[in-house]
């Protein structure tokens, strides 16, 4: 029922750093999340894109050195497609994703606290309905725990280099879009003067 105390402490410490990063990244804020989906504020894309490229280099290096293993989720198309769609609707209406809902609770936001309770309720329904959901989740086939390099028979480093290149192009395209990188003193909460023409 419990991991070892050391592993629990390690999880807590990792989480604290993750929470600080999410809070400083301003993604525990409704206007930043919804602003991304209104294609106005590119903070979410900048953070996620950078994290994916930087993370990929280290994770594949660790795996190749034998210090870690990949933890890939299976490509159960029914579950991934329906789940992704419901997730997209829920995240936009709530205005936070699961991790940033928890971080927004740390920021004191009351709507995020209602969101966390709802998330728990959603998980309760999922577990209770699990047997009935299996045909939906597996309905479009199970491709297993595959990676894009597996599917294409290519080296992961080819894809990582491609992502890094796409990232650099993205940085150049997003220069000056939304809130600029390095901005450190937004003084108010969600009230800003629209800056785009």
């Amino acid at each position: 029922m419990f991991d070892s105390p050391n592993k629990l402490l390690l999880g807590l410490a990792t989480g604290i750093v993750f929470g600080v990063l999410l809070q400083k990244g301003r993604v525990a804020k409704f206007p930043v999340i919804v602003g991304q989906f209104l294609l106005k504020d590119w903070t979410v894309a900048k953070i996620m894109g950078t994290a994916v490229v930087v993370g990929a280099v280290g994770v594949f290096a660790l795996v190749e050195a034998g210090h870690a293993s990949l933890h890939v989720k299976p490509l159960l198309l029914g579950g991934v497609l329906l789940g992704g769609a419901l997730f997209g609707v829920g995240m936009t209406v709530l205005g936070y994703c699961p991790g940033t809902t928890v971080a927004a609770c740390g920021e004191g936001r009351r709507d995020a606290m209602a969101g966390v309770l709802g998330m728990f309720a959603g998980a309760l329904v999922f577990v209770a309905a699990w047997p009935a959901l299996q045909p939906v989740i597996k309905g479009l086939g199970d491709e297993g725990k595959v990676t894009i390099p597996d599917l294409t028979g290519t080296s992961p480093w080819f894809w990582i280099a491609g992502l890094a290149g796409a990232g650099i192009v993205g940085v150049l395209l997003l220069r000056g879009r939304g809130r600029a990188a390095g901005q450190t003193s937004t003084s108010d909460h969600g009230i800003r003067v629209g800056s785009s023409a």
Binding site: G19, G84, G90, W130
Partner: protein
């Protein structure tokens, strides 16, 4: 101020590099990707085990997870979620970026200032979001960041679908005019 923790925000690229490096640490020290929603599923399963007598026999979930070697537990990922709350609390307190806001500005512009309405809809939306995350076995962290960096096919499909649907939902709710209110 010289203490970066007292700053209200950091560059999104710096934050992205930080999350990337934190993923290296998570893989190296715990052999675990960063993810949030599994912990909610574990909490739900433990709760149902505690309050519904015999649920382990009637719901195949419990046998299936035990066979996978992943029985519901309070583990590394559960503490990760606790840590995210603590880290965000400390960071927001140190920078004075703490807000008991219930109704965000954009929401108020579109749906009015009723706190009750916002809280009820937030609860329901949180439920739909988590239900979707568990159907897909991951969220913005587990699929969007951790899965994408492992070049997992499921995660790239999930990310494309959720981003497209989220964008369509945002424009359906707020229209092109909404961008002037965020």
């Amino acid at each position: 101020m010289t203490n970066p923790l007292a700053w209200k925000s950091w560059s999104p690229y710096a934050v992205g590099v930080g999350i990337g490096l934190l993923s290296w640490i998570a893989f190296a020290t715990a052999d675990h990707p960063l993810g949030i929603s599994t912990a909610f599923e574990n909490s739900a399963a433990l709760t149902e085990k505690a309050v519904v007598p015999g649920v382990e026999q009637t719901n195949g979930y419990f046998t299936a997870k035990a066979e996978e070697g992943k029985p519901p537990k309070i583990g590394w990922e559960w503490m990760l979620v606790v840590g995210v709350f603590v880290g965000a609390l400390v960071s927001s307190r140190l920078s004075g970026d703490h807000s008991p806001e219930t109704v965000p500005t954009l929401w108020r512009w579109r749906f009015g200032g009723s706190p009750g309405k916002r809280l009820v809809v937030a609860f329901l939306a949180g439920g739909v979001m988590m239900f979707g995350a568990r159907l897909a076995q991951g969220c913005t962290s587990g699929h969007g960041i951790s899965g994408s960096m492992q070049l997992a096919a499921s995660s790239w499909v999930f990310s494309a679908v959720f981003f497209a649907v989220a964008t369509a939902t945002a424009f359906a709710l707020y229209g092109t005019e909404g961008a002037n209110h965020v």
